[in-house]
């Protein structure tokens, strides 16, 4: 694996020992520096080609149920006695769920396991063209509900803690509003709730998007289109500067592997089912139905004021994908007495897959969950 990602210099067309031929002096120094840059750029190119081979999602787990749309994973407990209430993680429909288990020292899931939780994860599969009509109603009332029933059955309990990330948080909120009797706690990470308060570039594009033409001509929302939108987010600081940083640190194996894991995740973008995407853009971003309790799933109104269970809303202050104010609105409309917002000075991904997250976010989240999971 390491050999594939870090090939020796002589295998990627880099002259080995070439610098010895350059004469000494200031011009010689410049040429030597240029030669070094050339070596690093070439190494970066070959390293990036191998990004797909980098390993992610290593925490031991088993697939306990699988359909064409999703896999339900159960992670092996890391303590002898886990909390009584199992925790069901609902991942987003954008990119892949292994961001929650990126690498052992930056794994959201591993940390929860170490803190004594019994963790399950819904890993959404890429929809095929025939899944064009799969909607939020299917995801929330059918797929999440099915998974939840399996978890309840397997863990011999009556309720679970529902824990969503990003779009998965929004779906978890919808589920909790419709089926509160099966949910003990709701923990959301950066949910999209009140799009009027969302001032991000993504929200700006979404509010003007011609989703009907997309649905009619493309069916499912293709990954290229999603990449196009994401590339407009911090286009130079993240789009260009990160590669310049990579060139500088190309010989630092840990830095490169970390970079590749994130890079792999960023470009691992499956399409989104057409009808779901249409609802996401139309109902949530353009009409802002969710916060106004006007969104309907399967003919039933999603009334957020019906949520009375304990709710933890985890927000990143520097989130450039979902504005903090957009997520924070959840706590204003639910009826829960036990509700809390935790704010952290980090970004959307840094919130779940970073050293900061391991040291500052997860201990507090674990503490909140533990006291409500016995």
């Amino acid at each position: 694996m390491t050999q594939k990602i870090f090939p020796p210099d002589n295998q990627i067309g880099i002259p080995v020992g070439g610098e010895k031929k350059v004469a000494a002096g200031s011009l010689g120094d410049t040429v030597m520096e240029l030669q070094e840059v050339y070596r690093k750029v070439n190494k970066m190119r070959s390293t990036l080609y191998a990004a797909g081979d980098v390993e992610v999602g290593n925490t031991p787990h088993e697939t306990i149920y699988e359909t064409r749309i999703y896999r339900l994973l159960h992670y092996m407990p890391m303590v002898s006695r886990t909390a009584r209430t199992p925790l069901l993680l609902v991942y987003a429909l954008i990119n892949r769920s292994y961001i929650l288990d990126l690498q052992p020292d930056k794994s959201w899931i591993r940390s929860l396991l170490k803190q004594g939780f019994d963790v399950y994860l819904i890993d959404w599969k890429p929809p095929s063209p025939v899944d064009k009509y799969v909607s939020f109603d299917d995801y929330v009332n059918y797929y999440i509900d099915d998974c939840l029933e399996i978890v309840l059955d397997k863990s011999h309990t009556e309720k679970v803690t529902l824990h969503g990330y990003c779009m998965g948080s929004t779906m978890s909120v919808m589920y909790a509003a419709l089926h509160e009797e099966k949910v003990r706690n709701l923990a959301t990470i950066a949910p999209v709730i009140d799009s009027e308060k969302d001032k991000t570039v993504l929200a700006n594009f979404s509010k003007c998007m011609d989703f009907e033409s997309m649905f009619n001509s493309l069916g499912n929302m293709p990954q290229e289109q999603l990449h196009l939108s994401f590339s407009a987010l911090k286009p130079f600081k993240q789009g260009l500067n990160k590669y310049l940083n990579l060139i500088e640190h190309i010989d630092d194996e840990d830095f490169v592997l970390n970079f590749l894991r994130i890079e792999k995740w960023l470009y691992d973008t499956p399409p989104i089912a057409g009808e779901t995407f249409r609802q996401w853009i139309s109902d949530i971003y353009q009409k802002n139905l969710l916060i106004n309790n006007e969104m309907k799933l399967g003919g039933e109104i999603v009334d957020l004021s019906k949520i009375r269970i304990p709710v933890l809303n985890i927000i990143a202050e520097e989130d450039h994908l979902v504005s903090p104010a957009c997520s924070a609105s959840l706590n204003d409309v639910i009826s829960s007495r036990d509700k809390r917002i935790m704010r952290f000075h980090t970004g959307h991904v840094g919130l779940i897959a970073s050293n900061y997250s391991q040291n500052n976010v997860l201990p507090k989240v674990g503490q909140w969950l533990r006291s409500r999971s016995q």
Partner: protein
């Protein structure tokens, strides 16, 4: 006074009028010839060609629509690139104003790099956050999709020649299958509830 040359010109100009004033017999011959060719084209052996000639009018209309969409797309793209160029020029101006005078040390180069990234980030983030650009981008995408739709309609029409199901037909089936799956799942759930209720009724 009309000269001899003008007279010749006049006769030459009026030649098409002569052609229009066909005799009844001439018109009949032309109609028969046209019908004979039309019937010939309907022979099964030349079937696809017949299908094409039958759809000639609509194909022309599609081509017209395609060209219209293409022109619209180009116009929108021109506006789109104007905005991108404006943001680019604005960023370059900022870079030019803030750039160090000499690049003698590594710190100078580092400073230049930071300035460049920050200036471009600021300029393009402002552009992408503007409503004007979002509308323009959406319009460009709609134009592109309109072009795609023209191509899809044209290809789909020809699918019938190959006796293949069209995208619309597959779409209808997908929707039906999706509805059926939901119905089956609902029925299963109801059946489970009924089974549980029945079990409860059994005396122990």
């Amino acid at each position: 006074m009309v000269s001899e040359e003008d007279k010749n010109n006049y006769e030459s100009d009026s030649a098409p009028n002569k052609a229009v004033n066909l005799t009844h017999q001439e018109q009949e011959v032309i109609t028969k010839a046209y019908n004979a060719w039309s019937d010939t084209l309907k022979f099964p052996a030349i079937g696809p060609f017949h299908a094409f000639s039958r759809d000639f009018g609509s194909n022309i209309m599609e081509l017209y629509k395609f060209n219209q969409s293409l022109i619209q797309f180009q116009a929108t793209l021109a506006d789109y690139w104007t905005q991108i160029e404006k943001a680019y020029v604005q960023a370059m101006n900022e870079v030019a104003l803030g750039a160090p005078e000499h690049y003698s040390t590594k710190q100078d180069l580092e400073k230049y790099r930071k300035l460049m990234i920050d200036s471009f980030e600021k300029s393009f983030s402002a552009l992408y956050s503007s409503k004007e650009f979002a509308i323009l981008q959406s319009k460009a995408k709609s134009n592109e999709l309109e072009l795609l739709k023209c191509l899809q309609d044209n290809v789909e029409k020809n699918f019938t020649l190959l006796n293949l199901p069209t995208r619309k037909e597959v779409d209808v089936i997908s929707e039906d299958v999706h509805d059926l799956k939901r119905q089956v799942r609902d029925l299963k759930k109801k059946l489970e509830v009924l089974t549980i209720d029945d079990t409860k009724d059994i005396p122990t």
